[in-house]
């Protein structure tokens, strides 16, 4: 790599500094401290790697800091590592080579970190080295001659304690004038890793950066958390707590939001004049926005947990404990928590899969994520189980209804794992699979960083899922509302709504797909519900309520009675039987009826190919599963 000519610094426009560093070096903390809260988050073109850029706060001029993905080397093969290499060589369109490099390394692990520093120096750009966690070096009996290190490397070296702000003023002063930063000194050649690390070892000896005293706090905690027996127990407890929190703790807030939007809808109907605009507002827009926001409590709790566990250092330990088990089906320890997050909603689960460094396991995790029983399936399960499964007690407090619910959860998880194994044996063969995971020292995260990360993740969820759910809700509202049946003043409002729905485009769709779903025991009404559930699964409950002209969708009892009491006018036999209900439950376990999941999957994999595959695969599985369930249970139970 030849040194860039000295005159490349732009005299107009923003000066662009790229932040380069390994994971767990405090790079994100530093980026946040330097740029305040004004980071612009986007994606690099064509890949799913997050691009974060922020302006240096309180700077006299426009200085932009580009936070490159964490990497251990500058010529790696995962998407993240490739982006770093491509940005630094100017191979990404619209992303010129940065004017200067700000390299971040953890002062406690210089024997490794200087390897990346050396690679960065080879770029020949004006470079500044920031060493983080210098307080820990002293605490662990080490010493570090920063001046000497700077002289050896030929660049400025600044030591900081990012979360406490130590050293940041000095760093900011440097950052205002990147054009004055020197480029590297003449260094002995290092053509391969062996030579590079031989050089690193020599430099470390030279500056006195020898081995530090062991991090006794981390050692003590790890003796418990990675203990062969206790470690597994703690892992189980933490995951149980996470699971419990997204269900029990989130429920009151979710109910409040749900109720709030319902009353807002009623209120709108009371004050606004009757007509399609009011209908669109109350049933399309309000219902759509409510349908997104109702997930927010779960999402906030979930992201708080995920970021806290990651920042504190436990996430890597959890992955260490379960890696072997996940490995059996071709996933990684890192896949566990994203999949568990899918019990709340597949969208944040798929987003959380970004922490999986290996492209192959990440893709497998994303593709099987929608099988996990998300909370949108819960209202459907509750309704159908309450309506059709007898409340026979089985064992103590556990009844047949509870056991059915548990079986559905189990079926989803088992299918996810089996599908992962299948994918790995077939489609994903040949994709790069790498596994290495740092176990960072335990650190207490700052509340500010945590709050900021949770906020960013939740905002990304609302933006990504929200816009899609809202758009789909409006489209569905149109399908369900037009064309209308002729107005008949003799009908009650419920009966008129029912007549309108039966005349609607959605009803026609329901009739159109009836031949395909009749073998599963479903009639056109369920067909309409299935079409509607493409917006979000739980929408089927409200749609069925409308079809059966039950005034209040929350009235499970009324809806249940209407569904159970529905008879086929031709034969006089019940339309909906236990086998059909079981078949519908199985359909919901398997089918990918969620537009936001599909769109997020496309974004995160960078292609529509994968969601198309997942949708078809899951639909086929749903059809076969429902068909089998319907006919098997008919044979066994009669009906």
């Amino acid at each position: 790599m030849s040194a860039a000519p000295a005159a490349t610094l732009a005299t107009t426009g923003p000066t662009r500094i790229a932040l380069v560093g390994s994971p767990n070096t405090g790079k994100t903390t530093l980026f946040n401290a330097l740029t305040g809260s004004a980071a612009r988050v986007g994606n690099y073109p064509g890949v799913t790697v997050e691009r974060r850029e922020g302006a240096l706060v309180r700077a006299g001029r426009d200085i932009r800091i580009l936070d490159l993905p964490g990497t251990y080397c500058l010529d790696g093969e995962t998407p993240d590592e490739k982006v770093v290499a491509e940005v630094l060589t100017g191979r990404i369109t619209g992303e010129p080579v940065p004017d200067a490099l700000l390299v971040v390394a953890d002062a406690t692990t210089l024997q490794r970190g200087l390897g990346l520093v050396r690679e960065a120096l080879e770029r020949g750009l004006p470079t500044l080295l920031v060493l983080t966690m210098i307080d820990e070096v002293k605490a662990r009996g080490g010493r570090l001659d920063l001046m000497r290190l700077g002289r050896i490397l030929g660049i400025h070296v600044v030591g900081v304690v990012g979360h406490r702000g130590v050293g940041l003023d000095q760093l900011r002063a440097f950052l205002e004038h990147p054009e004055t930063w020197p480029r590297r000194a003449t260094l002995p050649p290092a053509d391969d890793a062996a030579q590079r690390f031989a050089w690193v070892d020599e430099v470390c000896r030279d500056i006195g950066a020898g081995a530090l005293e062991p991090d006794s706090r981390t050692d003590r905690i790890d003796r418990l958390l990675l203990h062969p027996v206790l470690g597994v127990a703690v892992f189980g407890l933490v995951m149980l707590l996470l699971f419990q929190s997204i269900f029990s703790w989130a429920v009151p807030a979710m109910d409040a939001i749900d109720g709030g939007f319902a009353s807002l809808g009623k209120l709108s109907r009371d004050v606004l004049p009757e007509g399609w605009v009011t209908d669109l507002w109350a049933d399309g827009i309000l219902a759509g926005v409510g349908g997104v926001l109702v997930f927010l409590p779960q999402i906030l709790i979930l992201f708080t947990f995920l970021h806290f566990l990651t920042d504190v250092g436990y996430m890597a330990r959890a992955a260490f404990v379960v890696d072997r088990v996940m490995g059996w089906v071709g996933l990684q320890g890192r896949s566990f928590v994203p999949l568990l997050s899918c019990y709340a909603c597949a969208v944040p689960g798929i987003m959380a899969a970004r922490t999986i460094a290996s492209p192959r396991e990440r893709l497998a995790t994303i593709l099987v994520a929608p099988f996990m029983t998300c909370s949108a399936r819960l209202p459907v399960y509750t309704l159908l189980i309450a309506a059709f499964v007898p409340a026979t007690p089985l064992l103590g407090p556990i009844g047949l209804q509870g056991a059915t619910m548990f079986a559905l959860y189990l079926l989803g998880a088992a299918t996810a794992l089996a599908s992962a194994a299948l994918l790995n044996a077939t489609l994903l063969r040949g994709t790069i699979s790498v596994f290495y995971m740092e176990l960072p020292p335990y650190r207490v995260p700052t509340l500010r960083l945590l709050a900021r990360q949770v906020w960013q993740s939740a905002a990304a969820f609302v933006k990504r899922a929200g816009t899609i759910i809202l758009a789909t809700s409006i489209v569905l509202w149109v399908l369900l509302s037009f064309p209308k049946a002729p107005h008949d003043p003799s009908l009650s409002p419920e009966a008129q709504a029912q007549a309108d729905l039966r005349a609607s485009a959605a009803a026609r769709l329901g009739h159109a797909i009836e031949p395909a779903i009749a073998p599963l025991g479903f009639d056109w009404k369920i067909g309409v519900g299935l079409v509607a559930s493409l917006a979000a699964r739980e929408v089927i409950v409200a749609t069925l309520a409308q079809i059966y002209a039950v005034g209040d969708a929350e009235d499970y009892g009324g809806l249940r009675d209407a569904i159970v009491g529905d008879v086929d006018p031709a034969t006089g036999r019940p339309v909906f039987t236990l086998p059909a209900a079981l078949a519908l439950l199985v359909f919901f376990v398997f089918a990918l009826q969620c537009t936001s999941t599909i769109v997020v999957m496309a974004r995160e994999t960078g292609s529509w190919r994968w969601p198309a595959l997942a949708f078809s695969y899951m639909l086929a599985l749903a059809w076969v599963g429902s068909f089998t369930t319907y006919h098997l249970s008919r044979a066994l139970l009669g009906g």
Partner: protein, 89 residues
């Protein structure tokens, strides 16, 4: 006498040796600082035996056993590799 890294008992300090004949240390591990002569110690194995936690160059890394088959070590204090296998046995 070099020992396969996977046979190194947890807690015993060792140095990375040249890889098994005809094999190379995987590129990715080299980038993480796995070059011959580097001191390392296996801290522990995961509850089911895989992956292993290795301390090297002042940090801790989890690697799957299957990725380590080309790697060999020599014991840091010059003891023969057989001492390691005896302790293990």
């Amino acid at each position: 006498m070099p020992t396969p890294l996977i046979d190194l008992p947890p807690g015993m300090p060792a140095r990375l040796y040249a890889p098994v004949e005809g094999r190379a240390i995987p590129r990715r591990l080299q980038d993480l600082g796995f070059v011959p002569g580097t001191p390392l110690v296996i801290r522990r194995r995961a509850p089911l035996g895989d992956p292993v936690e290795i301390e090297i160059r002042g940090y801790r890394l989890c690697l799957r056993v299957a990725q380590l088959d080309a790697l060999r070590v020599e014991l840091d204090d010059g003891r023969e590799a057989s001492a390691a296998s005896e302790r293990r046995g």
